[in-house]
Amino acid sequence: MRGGRALGTLAWSYLALTLSFLYLPLFPPFVFSLALPAGEPGGLGLRAYLELWRNPVLTGAIQTSLLVGLLTSVLTPPLALLAAMSVRELRAPRAVLLLLLMPLFIPGISMGLADAFLFRLLGIPPSLLTILIVHLLWALPFAFLIILTAMAGFDPVYLEAAYLHGAGRLRAFFDVELPLIAPGISGAATFTFILSLNETVRTGLVQGPWNTVQTYVWSTYLQVGLSPTIYALMSLLIALTVILILVIRPLLTRRSQRTASV
């Protein structure tokens, strides 16, 4: 038993080490965001945070990010759901599944350039639409994977029960399957929103005159370098992501509890 405890301590220490390795880089920006510009009196302050709101380029970028993020998270899950349903219905072979997931592994810069080139061939000027399409393409495989997983936990016997009680395919889907896989769909929507909010490389290649928060951070860094404003923005984005993840978590755990009780 003592050997087991020693092993436990070792495992916990390793876990602590891994976690600090993962999260350590996130702290300096936060600390530096509170520092005041050199030469000014005083130690720490929220001035950098307040300044964010006085920058019209940035507030415009925030609006764009939120708009694109919301549209992506509304449009992607239904498309992913249809794809997942087709895969199940056709009992599609693994190769098809792999094809659907392949875009996840294509380098962002290649995908972005390919998208930009296609838009030019089609004569679509860089706009909110091109940003939206690129985000949708980026998020779709992830959303597909999440919904497919949620659907794997759904027992088709519920659909059969609905059919036998007089419900056709569509009715049975809306009455029975959709409510039971809803946590997976809202999880996919939240995840999609995070992906859209954080996307940079592909966006940068099709953004045209529009800025998202990420392209703003990137171009400011290239032109001005690091500043308390950038640190503040980074801290906010990290905090937002953490909050969104915490929003998905209960949805996912509630799902697994229900599956366990059935």
Binding site: D155, A161, D175, R258, S261
Partner: protein, 358 residues
């Protein structure tokens, strides 16, 4: 019971790759009947139920309900009810919403739905549990909800796919009696699938025994129990001894002489044919065999060695070995002989020997 057929299967066949689930099956179920498909796993009984439900399409043959060919009719238009082994009550709906589901799909007036739900929950013994969350109910209660949900739509047929298979012994026995009671009370035709011979015998009006997609025998429980037609059917019912015998005469006037472990027995001839010297199997029920003193009153006796005595509560099994090595079991209400290894006599009435077809 009038004899109106409600369900007819005509030459129904279904294969999954090399597995045969149904092989040219014909049968008729009468209105109001409790009809059971009995068979081991892999016998195709569940597939047959799914074909009737419209959840599987047969490769060949016809399913008729009320005489109407069901080819191309989807499950939601067949007007059937179905109870599944895994209950399949909708976990996101209350008890009442579950029971009301089929009625809501059919757009019945709200007041009528409420009345019907109350009626059915009373029928299955769940009165007052309308607003409960189904996931907190026990397995037996969930299955009652499923039963009420299926009966609510007054189905032409109620299909039950091993509905008690996931319940523990005690609840299963209670539910057996209750299912039979509900079936009688509502007059609904039940088509029931089980692998449990006792369940089938207790509840059914008729039983169809299935073996790898073939209908081996379809009879009342009594006939099936007393006169199994094949070795497979005999082997399916607990307490049935199957013995190897040789014909010593050709069947004549319903009588035949059989040679069983050195003893000639005049048995009742069945449809099995063949001549002198043909080896056949016969069945004799364990409770029709007498051992010890009781054997002396029997018209035929055979010598055997007592191999084991097994106490089973309400009865005692005497395991016997015949001179040619065949084993059989004789059941009586008390211990007849005790010393294992002793030579004893086994007695029986030739009328209780049933010739099997294979």
């Amino acid at each position: 019971m009038n004899n109106t057929p409600i369900l007819q299967l005509e030459g129904v066949s279904k294969r999954f790759g090399r597995i045969v689930a149904a092989d040219d099956l014909d049968l008729t179920v009468i209105r109001g009947e409790f009809f059971t498909f009995l068979g081991p796993s892999g016998s195709g009984k569940s597939t047959l139920l799914r074909i009737i439900a419209g959840l599987e399409r047969p490769d060949a043959g016809r399913v008729r309900i009320h005489g109407k060919d069901m080819a191309g009719v989807p499950p939601w238009q067949r007007g059937l009810g179905m109870v599944f082994q895994q209950y399949a009550v909708f976990p996101h709906m209350t008890v009442a919403q579950n029971v009301a589901y089929g009625l809501r799909v059919r757009r019945l007036p709200r007041e009528q739905i409420r009345r019907r739900v109350r009626e059915l929950l009373a029928l299955v013994g769940l009165a007052g549990k309308e607003e409960m969350n189904v996931t907190v109910l026990s397995g037996g209660e969930q299955q009652r909800v499923a039963l009420a949900r299926s009966l609510a739509i007054e189905p032409a047929l109620l299909l039950l796919d091993e509905p008690l298979g996931a319940l523990d012994e005690k609840i299963r026995r209670e539910m057996q009696t209750e299912l039979k009671h509900i079936q009688r009370k509502t007059g609904t035709t039940f088509v029931y699938v089980t692998h449990d011979q006792e369940e089938a015998l207790t509840m059914s009006d008729r039983i169809a025994v299935l073996h790898v997609g073939v209908l081996v025998q379809c009879d009342t429980p009594e006939t099936l129990f007393r006169q199994p037609r094949t070795r497979f059917v005999a082997g399916f019912f607990r307490g049935c001894n199957v013995l190897e015998a040789t014909m010593t005469t050709a069947p004549a006037a319903d009588r035949i002489n059989l040679h069983i472990a050195g003893q000639v027995v005049a048995a009742r001839a069945s449809s099995a044919t063949g001549g002198i010297g043909r080896r056949i199997a016969v069945a004799v029920r364990a409770e029709d065999l007498r051992v010890g003193r009781a054997a002396n009153e029997a018209s035929v006796t055979i010598e055997a060695t007592l191999a084991d005595v097994i106490y089973r509560g309400t009865n005692v099994d005497h395991v016997l070995e015949l001179a040619d090595g065949q084993r059989l079991v004789a059941t009586s209400v008390k211990r007849e002989v005790d010393e294992v290894g002793r030579t004893v006599r086994v007695g029986f009435d030739p009328a209780s020997v049933v010739m099997l077809e294979d």
